[in-house]
Subunit: 187 residues, 2 copies
């Protein structure tokens, strides 16, 4: 089966492709680099709308369509920046995300990935992966996005301090992808 | 002429209606309370898309359609939260907006209002009003939104410390509305 993954970020595509290849055989992930307008709202709504737009834009493409929304929920900001984290990273980087929480005692955060899968003739399927952690002064050189300022509770390291392989074992994106794999295995 | 102003915020509708009534006679502002999905992106894009959606939803309504995007651009955040300010205000209030800039020396900000007007058989018209100021610990009890934490440079007071009448003389929303009034007068 072909899964067309809508993303402009090769780092994400590689992450997901690696996880899937290790778990299920007959699936090929193809990058579908299209620039889709995204709605404001909660992550579930954004993913469902993104899936609709991608289907419209992709025309009669072979296989399934996969979209993803990665967000960072700061608890003192009641879940913001959430899906808008990409704009904040672009503006102030991981150091600036850390500065956002410094006026507060509570630095806890959730890294969240929602994958939206649209198989031909099926309803949209959403798979949510979450990892609990806290925002720290950036550490490490690996990863992308907010990886260096997000310290995972279970290992007390940031995503930036572990290898890509280690990340693929514990990340929020991995958790969402595993849920999707379970779904695909049971088709 | 009837102008149908898409807004769920009676405070905004009253502000604009007051400004227009004092400047031009034969215009009636009606509140059009519809819940429109909004796109992510820069304010101009959001306003144009909002206008398209509003037209679709309003059907054969009599008169023009007016939408508005109010945003707060913090300079140390390179213009963010921008159009997402409404979510931040809901989450952390004006006090939390102030806390966002406390780790930085630069507390300067721009309050921006873009009004989008769609007359029948015309292209969308955008009118942008800006007021320069700085983010301060909230002061005053008037206004709504970020009024209490935004100190206007020209008067060293927050929008929360001046009356509605005073605000209607100097606000970013007034500036955008005046530009629209000039346009309407020259029709």
């Amino acid at each position: 089966m072909i899964i067309n993954f809508v993303s402009g970020n090769p780092g994400k595509v590689r992450e997901i492709s690696d996880i899937i290849k290790n778990s299920i055989s007959n699936i090929e992930i193809r990058q579908l680099d299209m620039d889709l307008p995204e709605y404001q709202g909660d992550s579930e709504f954004i993913v469902i709308k993104k899936l609709e737009e991608a289907r419209k834009n992709a025309g009669n493409i072979e296989g399934a369509i996969l979209v993803e929304d990665s967000s960072l929920l700061l608890n003192v900001y009641k879940g913001l920046p959430g899906p808008y984290i990409k704009y904040f990273l672009k503006a102030v980087g991981p150091e600036g995300i850390y500065k956002m929480v410094t006026p507060y005692e509570d630095h806890t955060a959730t890294a969240q990935c929602i994958m939206g899968l649209q198989l031909p003739n099926d309803e949209p399927r959403l798979f949510t992966g979450k990892t609990e952690g806290e925002i720290v002064k950036p550490r490490g050189n690996n990863g992308f996005g907010y990886d260096t300022c997000f310290q995972i509770n279970s290992i007390n390291k940031t995503y930036g301090e572990i290898t890509e392989q280690e990340k693929n074992e514990i990340s929020h994106r991995m958790k969402a992808t595993k849920l999707m794999i379970e779904f695909l295995k049971n088709l």
